[in-house]
Amino acid sequence: MNARYVICTLSAVMVGVAVARGVHAEPCPAAGGRAAADVWFAEEVWPKVASLECLKCHKQGGDAEDTQFVLTDLSRARPSERGKRLQSNRDAFLKLAPLRANDQPLLLSKAVGELDHGGNQVLKPDSAGYRILAEFVRRVNVPSSTPARPPAVTADAAPFFDGVLMLDDRRLLRRATLSLAGRLPTESELDVVAAQGLKAMPELLDGILREEAFYERLREGFNDIFLTLGVDGNPDRSVLSYEHFEKTRGWYQRHDLSHIEDEKARRQAGYKLANEYRKALLDEPMRLIDHIVRHDRPFTEIVTADYIMVSPYTARGYGIFDEVKDRFKDPDDPFEYVPVRLKALVGRNRSEDQESATGFYPHAGLLSTFQYLSRYPTTETNRNRLRARMYYQHFLGVDVLELAARVADAAAVTAKFEVPTMQASECVVCHKTVDPVAGLFQDYWRFDNNFAIYGRRKEGWFSDMFSAGFEGDDLPTDQRWRALQWLGERTADDPRFAATMVGHAYYLLKGRHPLLPPADLDDPRYAAKLRAYREQQRQIEVIASHFVDADFNFKVALKEWVLSDDYRARRLETESGTPERMAALDDIGVVRMLSPEQLERKIAAVFGQPWGRLTGQTAMLYGGIDSKQVTERATDPSGAMGAVQRTLANDVACRNVALDFSRPKDRRILFPGIEPNVLPAVSAESDARIRDAIVHLHQRVLGRYDNANSPEVDRTFALFAGVVADAESRQGFDPREAWSCRQGLESPVPDPHYTVRAWRAVVTYLLRRPEFLYE
């Protein structure tokens, strides 16, 4: 401690202090002013200042780890330990709060960049963060005084979901079956839910999560996160390198297709073979996730699995087909996968051979797959930092570049230091975390020569980078050959991993990532946003805890989210929400615009056949991704997407309405209880039949359970009757459906009263509604 500092020996620092009960500690009236400081620390200082600013450097592995002010990152602590860790962080602040230098509180002077603060200015003197810290200092030093302001979030607020109505159980089941299995609920499932209510859901979900369609959705959802389908180039070149798979990766070019006599057919078969091989290669990482979840294996295996998944086609590419072919049910199925442990790589010359103490490739789940490594390649100057960044984002939920620290003069810093990333505090703050992880990827260095993945840098790893390791732990030399396994083991053991995976489950279900903590302390809605964030974090922690207790069974995370208030939220009870309340509830509920793939599945579920046109360019136009350049799905509809929706509604109705009427009644799915000859405004009985048909359509297409005399049904009835009446008033219309809409019928469907077209208008209307297009 610098001698300049005058130590104010406030007895409060020396005596024991009331223990903050955790991040959401409540006031303890009996403890008086000191307790107020403790609450202030837990509710204000820690979440709004210390965890966002101080912790960047003042932690183990941080740039200020050698100072006497070292904090603990609560996100790295297990939930049961967080109260204690918060207490030790508070104690660290309590020790500093009484200290003064140059007649100013030391803590505040450091925060504004004075007293040679290594992190320079982290708070502006007029900022909300500074005022929070100043209030803490005041409370510590004058504990008997009245608190200047209460914490922004009060403990006596009403329960978060008060006034939010939840989905009824039938609609929750429909939401879950469509989302996870791409189908409507069966009658028997609906019966079970009708009889047992919400408590039936876990078992029903167990069944849904065993369906093949769920695994398709699982792979699709996780590719949205990991984007491994976006590997550049031909995967048989970019995934399987020339150095190690030269003789085997092109097996399809030599594959014997001579049994196909016709030359054109043989050529086509060759193309198909190559395409399926490449697709199978790209799909391997997501098949690993599929395998782990399907067999209820610990989800930690996505970073620890000592195997990869191979298909009969990809096994040929690796040159191991003969070894594993007996394990396939169908050795000719390009997309049947089995787990396999590869042997250590053998190159074209000894320098390309892989070092391995076991003789096997050191698999570390996704981390060491060739697809992940080639999707996130490196360069001579990037030095694996992209990989380290993606590792943090994918597996620990930390985006190291998300809120990059502003530097007073970044150019000057770059020029001033020989190695800014190790010497300039502005750079060190991130690089001390990122660079050691980048170093763990050091043996996957090759990025030229046909994008070989494995290979050591000839000159040795960079000495002007922080050495390989993970958040303060150096990689032992004898672990280098299995560095990614070493990383995977630490990742699986890190509490952030479980929380991040629970966040991925949330993303799969809701199409958006969990909330970030609000950053703008001056935002008038800050308190509301903070409350929303905390409520969501609380839910994540609860689910993460159950996920861990269930040996990291990913299905547990999915099921718990489905049953959560957040997922089941339907609408508000009354329209009396204050702006603050609406800000707090801003993210709840699913309200997810369906992706092209999901929409196709929903159309197939409702109509018995997909539309089939939400592919390729149209899918991109509809907000889809290519996993390469376009990696974020559109979440809101543009006018272009509105146009696609119009076309979709028109065309799907066109293809299905007359077709359904052309089937025998017992095979109809849209109109099982009505015929085109039932006209509106003819009799009460005919109107009732039409209304019943509308109720059925509302249920099937929209998932609504409407009463036949409800305003919703009234509106649809008015549409149907209005179209029929308009047609009648015009006279002379064609007594047949439009040509395009009467193709492929099972039996003729005349339309002398225009009712078939009126029903088509009804279905078009329903398909354009948010209940259909959103989840």
Binding site: T379, E380, T381, N382, E402, L403, A404, A405, R406, V407, D409, A410, A411, T414, A415, A519, D520, A569, L572, T574, M582, G589, V591, Q617, M620, L621, V630, A634, D636, P637, S638, G639, A640, M641, G642, A643, Q645, R646, T647, N650, C654, P711, R715, T716, A718, L719, V723, D726, A727, F733, A738, S740, R757, A758, R760, A761, Y765, R769, P770, L773
Partner: protein, 428 residues
């Protein structure tokens, strides 16, 4: 026309952030055609990866900063000084030709301080003017939300950072043929003579949807629900206006990357269905072989800008088109061992369009390519009392230029520039 447009917007209530309520929505769907947005139009062109400004608008012929020309080779055109590239370019348009044609209209700002030098935060910062938030909209999205929220393709993007702040939907129309495909959504295969529904039936469908929206708007929905349903309704209703794009889609698809994007954006502008577009070309991140890469990419970029302006002239919207050319960072004043240049947090930006006085260069870097502090009121370098001009300063100026600085959407995303730091008279 412009007044009609705003009147219609207010009438129809189709702004995305302002939910459609009650009968107003019904009137919009009853057949009131969406008026065409008639400008100004904004094109933001991103040189993605970090351009080498010393090979374009901020030439340095000393200190080994570049290897292709010397101080005496630097070219001038009016008030502009730029690097000579005619002898080094690999395709595209040379600086000499670009400045000869457009220098008189061009405003350049040199010495822009990005504050950090990583792609992701820099891209976000340059696009939004806010470094430390993921919530802020890009300028292109903000201006679209303020000036044409109901345009079906109000904010088009072809890449780069494109956050919208939930103010407006982002439109991705990656291919010209896609535009044709969506232009006539109510006709079978886009053939106007083969509508799916008779007119009266379609009118009934629209009416029912409008009524439904009105009924929903009066219910206590979740905030996200209210927003989503409002946006969905607006997207479908407004998409009818896309039929106006068809006549402006060219028969031939150009080969150049920027030109392909430009055709989609310009056709949409011309049809009055779009306010702003993010255009982007990548691969500027020249960590290896800087000179070869930049000599290919900068001419390609300039050729693209020229294409945008020429085609805008063909379509007779040039006088309403504002072009901003930027990159998320510059390149170091030194070469690395691979003959490349790494990230540099000082750079430049170019503006051109109606209301922007050209033939001007504002701001500067010194011989070492460091930003020289700048007096924002005098628009002159001031080593002693100047400020570091950062993206938020330019964004504040852009908001004022576009007349949206006081729009509620802009106020929702404040940039926090004090009056004494605002760039006064930047546009001339």
């Amino acid at each position: 026309m412009r007044r009609d447009f705003f009147k219609w917007c207010a009438f129809a209530g189709l702004g995305l952030a302002a939910p459609v309520r009650g009968q107003r929505a019904g009137r919009a769907a009853d057949g009131l055609d969406l008026p065409a947005y008639d400008g100004p139009y904004y094109v933001v062109i991103n040189a993605s990866g970090g351009w080498d400004t010393t090979y374009l608008m901020d030439p340095k012929g000393v200190g080994g900063i570049n290897r292709l020309y010397r101080e005496g080779d630097i070219v001038t055109h009016g008030n502009h000084r730029f690097a000579p590239t005619a002898k080094s370019q690999q395709g595209g348009l040379s600086n000499e030709d670009f400045y000869a044609e457009f220098g008189g209209e061009l405003l350049v700002f040199n010495g822009l301080d990005y504050a950090v030098n990583n792609h992701s935060p820099c891209s976000r910062y340059m696009a939004t003017g806010k470094l430390d938030s993921l919530a802020y909209p890009t300028f292109a999205a903000l201006v679209a939300a303020c000036q044409g929220p109901s345009c079906p393709l109000s904010f088009l993007t072809f890449g780069n950072y494109s956050a919208t702040g939930n103010l407006v939907a982002m439109s991705r129309v990656p291919y010209l043929p896609s535009l044709k495909r969506i232009a006539n959504a109510d006709a079978i295969s886009g053939n106007q003579r083969a509508p799916y529904h008779d007119d009266f039936a379609l009118a009934r469908i629209e009416g029912a949807l409008s009524e439904h929206r009105g009924a929903r708007a009066s219910q206590p929905l979740l905030p996200r629900q209210e927003r989503a349903e409002s946006m969905l309704y607006a997207a479908q209703v407004n998409s009818k206006a896309l039929a106006r794009v068809t006549p402006h889609i060219p028969q031939d698809i150009p080969k150049q990357r920027l030109a392909r994007q430009a055709e989609i954006a310009l056709a949409s502008f011309k049809a009055g269905v779009c306010v702003s577009a993010n255009l982007s070309i990548g691969q500027f991140d020249s960590h290896a072989n800087n000179d070869a890469d930049q000599m290919k990419l900068i001419p390609e970029l300039l050729e693209g800008i020229a294409y945008v302006l020429h085609r805008a002239e063909d379509l007779r919207i040039r006088d309403k088109l504002v072009v901003i050319a930027q990159s998320e960072m510059g390149r170091t004043p030194t070469y690395n061992q691979g003959d490349g240049k790494d990230h540099w947090s000082i750079g430049s930006i170019m503006f051109l369009g109606p209301g922007i006085k050209g033939d001007r260069v504002i701001g500067a870097t010194d011989e070492g390519q460091f930003a020289i502090p700048f007096d924002p009121h005098q628009l002159a370098c001031d080593q002693d009392a100047g400020i570091r001009v950062r993206p938020e300063h330019l964004h504040e100026a852009l908001r004022q230029f576009a007349g949206i600085a006081d729009h509620p959407h802009s106020r929702q995303f404040p940039l926090g520039i004090k009056p004494e730091e605002q760039l006064r008279g930047l546009w001339g």
